[in-house]
Every structure is written in C-alpha cells, then in structure tokens.
Amino acid sequence: MWFFILAELLVFGVFFLAYAFARMRNVELFNASQLELDRISGAINTILLISGSYFVVRAVDQIRHDRSRACAHWLIAAMACGGTFLILKLVEFGAKFEAGINMSTNTFFMFYLGLGFFHFMHVILGMVILGAVALKAWKGGYSASNYGGVETGAAYWHMVDLVWIVLFPLIYILN
C-alpha cells in the first residue's frame, strides 16, 4: 500500500509542479482566472477533509482498544465528510460549467478542473476503501491485536487529505 501511496504522491507532485511552472510563464492569466474561483467552497472542503482525517484517527484509536463498533462509527463519520466534499465539489464544478468554463478555456482552468477531477476520483476511491474497512470492522473483522487493515485504509485517506492540503493554497489562494 505504501508503494501505491508514494506513487500517487508522485503523480500529484508532478502535477503541482507543472502548475507552478506553467504559471511562471503566464502569471496574469493565472491570477485573473483564480479570482473566479469559489474560495469559500474550497475552504469548507479543506475543513471537511481535515475533519475526515481526524475521524479516521479516532477510528484507529478505537480499534486499538478493541472497540469495533465505535471504530466503524468514526469511519462512517469520515465517509460523511468525504461525501459532503464531493457534493460541494460538484456544485462548484457545475457553476463553472454553467459559466461556460471547461478544460479548454485556458491553462489555469485546465489545471483547476483536471487536478480537481483527479483528486475527486481519489476521494471516491478513499471512501470505497474506508467503506470496506468499516464494513469489516462492523462485522468484528479487526481486533486490538490485528488492525493492520484499518491502518492501511487510514493511510490512504490521509494521503488524499495531504494532497488537498497542498492543492488548496496552491490553486485557490496563492497569487
């Protein structure tokens, strides 16, 4: 799993740097386009992912004390955060599409939509992983002595969070 997480970080890292270097050559366009973003939605989404990560930490803590049900509850709470993130993101993207903006509008929006969509897919995958772990935890598949699966799922979810923590200031804030 860690190989996988590193590979994902590598892909995102390359994209972040591609954004940063592409911006160097076209600062005005990037700054102007950035003003059209919904910064509030981006900030709320950051809080949601951070909270989701926090809930996952609590879930791991619960299973260490052999409380399977409580572990599953925290995981479901984390998934709820993820789900809300997805809804907000869809509203945000929907507004952009309505305004006639798409990946071909300009390089900034190519990155904004492309990276956003790519991250979006990772949130979905992360939720699927958390869901599978939660289900197994609910059924009592983990215990205080055997919870490697919970930790692995948690690590993936934190990775999704980590990527967003960099993505948010980079695309929404810095100009």
Binding site: F3, A7, L10, V11, V14, F15, A18, M110, G114
Partner: protein, 458 residues
C-alpha cells in the same frame, strides 16, 4: 505438466514460433527496402512487407498469449480445461484465418482484398495495424470469445488465484478493446482517437496484465518463492501499470486535433509508465535471488530475467525518451518511434512469451527441463537475439536523432527523402543486426531438436 488438457498449448506455441520466423523474414526484406528501394518490387512492395511484418507480430503474440493462457489457467485453477476440444478447434480456425489473411495481403492488391471481403459493408480496413479484412476481424472476436468462455468456465469452477484472475482480466480487456477496431468514424480525429483505444490500451494497458501474470507464474515455478510474496508484487505492478497506462493514452493525443490539455495529461502520466516496468525488473531479480530451489531449466530463468531488463529498457526508457510533449513535438513519427517500438515489443512481449514457452515446452514434452546441451544453444540464441535487438535499437535511435536534426530542428529543414538518404548508413547497420537476430532465432528453433541427456533437479 499437471493436467492432460494443458497440452493444448503446444500447437499454439509451435504456430507462434513459426509465425515469428515469418515476421523476422519480412522485417529483413523491409529493412533492405529502406536502402535498396526496389528490392523485390513489384512482388512485395514496402507497404505490404510492413503490413505483414507488423500483423504477423501481433498474430504470433496472440498465439503465444492464448497458448500461455491455456497452460497457465488450468494449472492455477487446479483442474482440467473446461473444453480442450474447443481450444483446439479455435487454434485451427485462428491459424487458417491468419494464414489466409497474410496470403491475401501478399497475393491480392489491398484494394481488391477490401472489395472481396466486404469492406463496403462495414469499413474497418486501411488503418495501421488494423488492416485485417472484416472476416478476419470477426474471426478474431469469435476465437477470443470462445477462449474467454473456455477459460472463464475453468476459473469459475476451480481455484481462484491472483495470477489467473489477472490473466483473465487482461484477456477480457484485450477482447473488449479490440471491439473498437470495428468503430471507424468518418471524422479523422475521432478515428485516430479510438484507434488508440485498441493499439495503446492493448500494449500499454491490458497486455501488461497478461505479461505480469505470465511472468509471475513462471517465477513462482522456477524460484519456489512463496505465492503470497509474488502476488503482492503482481498487484502493485498491475495497479501502477493501469494508473499510468490508461491516462497515459494521452501521449498519443498531442497533435491529432484533440484538446490541448492532453499535452499535460499525456506527458505526466506516460512519464510515469516506466515505473511498473522498473518494478517488474526489480521483481524478477528479487525473486530469483530469493529462490528456494535450483530449477534445472536455467534457460527459462534467463528469459524471465531478460524480460524484466529489456522491457524496462525498451518500453520504459526508450518510451520515456520521446513521451513528453515538448520532445515529441520534434520526434513524432521518426525513427525514434521505430527504435522504441522494436525494443519494447521484443523486451516486453516477445520475451515474456518465449519465457513461457521455454518453461512449458519441456514439460509438455515429458521432462522437467531440456538437456544441458539444448539449454546452452537456447541461451546462445537468447544472447544473439537480445544483443542484436539492442543494436537494432541503437542504430535506429541514431538514425532518428540525425533525422530529427536534419529534418525538423535545422534552420533549413531537409525534405523527408533527402534526410533518409543521410541516415542510410544506420539502416545498413540495422540490417546487419537484423541478420544476427535471424541467426539467433534459427538457433532458438534448432534448440528444440537437440536431444542429449536430460538435466535433473539439483
């Protein structure tokens, strides 16, 4: 060999090697035509030789994959093949259809062939690598579906392992993506867009699953390393191959009229495509180093290691060389592409099929491994073919660099044919390397007929 029905792989492998020889002969004809333009004209024009060279490659690799699947799936599932008769029938259908198609290419003008085979009903011909007449394409689908039915039934009723599941998913993907060869929109951009769904998603997508499964299977057998370890590697490798390979399709969408964002997506994802190949190399060497037994079939181990190295060099490194959009802007469609194509196909797919043949053929002929003498000859063929291919690639790369320089970078660009004249020396050297490759291949074939005292396990 654990199950009688696995023997159905044998005719597939024999046909594969036969067609391989044909492919190389046509490659040599074509290589000579690069420098002696009217060689064998008008009997075998360049475009026909090229079509035969590439189509034979695809067909013999398919024979190899099918044979490998018919051998590997029953063994992994721990039961006999669902229907060996069906598998054998499909072999003959595929062989006859394949031979008829090649003869059609050679003896009938392509336009007439298209007319004769109903291309006006559903136009699918005339596109690189998908030149096959409609009946052949339909035949490929039928053969593939019958094979998938046969193999899926075997797996469903038997043991399910990572290896046979990955193999099966790969083969299903192969069949599904081939269906895009029937879609031929009038819009040239769309045509090319979906054409890559067959070509790219085969070789840089689902074929990698097939390759990974075959390599993992042979490595389990020859090293005795625990299945859990090998399966973990296999999962990580195919996950990486799919992540990078699927969106990596974008590296074909730079200049064909598709939106500009593909230059970013294609560059970033395809730049990471070497990673799974690198992991495959590490995987192969790691497993062989941790081996728990000394398998008497040394040649098979050599091929398996060779696959890892050459696939990484050919597909990984040589692919990376020209995959970034700003580089590809200059190198697109030059001899650099040809260099990459040669080493990637040889290193990844040719070698993995030979690895499988090398491991299974002795077993199907009733011994654990060939005699030491036969193995020595086989290893000679390994080195001859592999080194010849390295040189073919280097010469073509040199030709490509010169070509890019003269024809694209220069302030006064040369016309295509004038630039070709300038690189003729490299084409001559490539042809010589090709002849050495042929010698290697002939030695490989000879190694099957060498008797001698059988090697025993140590």
């Amino acid at each position: 060999m654990k199950y009688e029905s696995q023997a159905v792989a044998k005719p597939y492998f024999i046909a594969a090697i036969g067609l391989f020889l044909g492919q190389i002969l046509f490659g040599l004809i074509m290589g000579l035509q690069y420098v002696v333009g009217d060689f064998l004209f008008p009997a075998i024009p360049f475009n026909v030789a090229r079509m035969v060279h590439t189509n034979l490659l695809i067909v013999w690799l398919l024979f190899g994959f099918m044979g490998a699947a018919y051998y590997l799936i029953p063994e992994e599932s721990e039961r006999d093949l669902f229907s060996p008769k069906l598998a054998l029938a499909m072999f003959w259908i595929f062989l006859v259809a394949g031979a008829a198609t090649i003869l059609g290419y050679l003896f009938v003008p392509y336009a007439t062939l298209a007319e004769m085979t109903g291309n006006d009903l559903l136009a699918t011909m005339g596109r690189e690598f998908l030149e096959q007449p409609l009946p052949t394409k339909v035949g490929i689908v039928i053969v593939a579906l019958a094979m998938l039915f046969n193999l899926s039934m075997t797996v469903l009723k038997g043991r399910k392992t990572a290896i046979n599941l990955v193999m099966l998913v790969g083969l299903w993907g192969l069949a599904i993506f081939f269906l895009f060869s029937f879609y031929n929109p009038g819009n040239l951009v769309k045509d090319k867009f979906y054409w890559w769904w067959v070509v790219h998603l085969w070789v840089e997508g689902v074929w990698e699953l097939i390759m990974g499964a075959m390599l993992a299977f042979v490595l389990i057998k020859v090293t005795g390393v625990d299945r859990e370890v090998i399966e973990k590697w296999l999962y990580v490798i195919i996950a990486m191959a799919l992540i990078t390979g699927l969106i990596g399709t974008g590296h074909h969408y730079y200049w064909i009229g598709t939106p500009e964002y593909w230059q970013w997506w294609g560059s970033v994802f395809s730049a990471l495509e070497p990673i799974p190949f690198f992991m495959m190399t590490v995987f192969a060497f790691n497993m062989v180093n941790r081996r728990k037994r000394e398998h008497p079939n040394k040649a098979a181990v050599l091929w398996a290691l060779g696959t890892g190295v050459m696939a990484f060099l050919g597909a990984g490194v040589w692919g990376f060389l020209h995959t970034l959009a700003p580089v590809n802007y200059y190198t697109h469609g030059t001899q650099i592409t040809a260099a990459h194509g040669h080493m990637a196909f040889y290193g990844a797919y040719v070698m993995v099929v030979i690895t499988m043949i090398s491991y299974t053929m002795p077993l199907m002929r009733g011994r654990e491994a060939n005699s030491p003498v036969a193995q020595v000859v086989e290893m000679w063929s390994f080195w001859l073919m592999t080194i010849a291919m390295v040189f073919i690639t280097l010469f073509l790369t040199a030709a490509g660099i010169l070509q890019v320089w003269l024809q694209r970078v220069s302030t006064e660009p040369m016309p295509f044919m004038a630039a070709q004249d300038q690189v003729a020396l490299f084409y001559w050297m490539r042809e010589v390397a090709g002849l050495i490759f042929l010698v290697g291949l002939l030695l490989y074939i000879v190694s099957f007929f060498i008797k001698g005292k059988a090697a025993t396990a140590t």
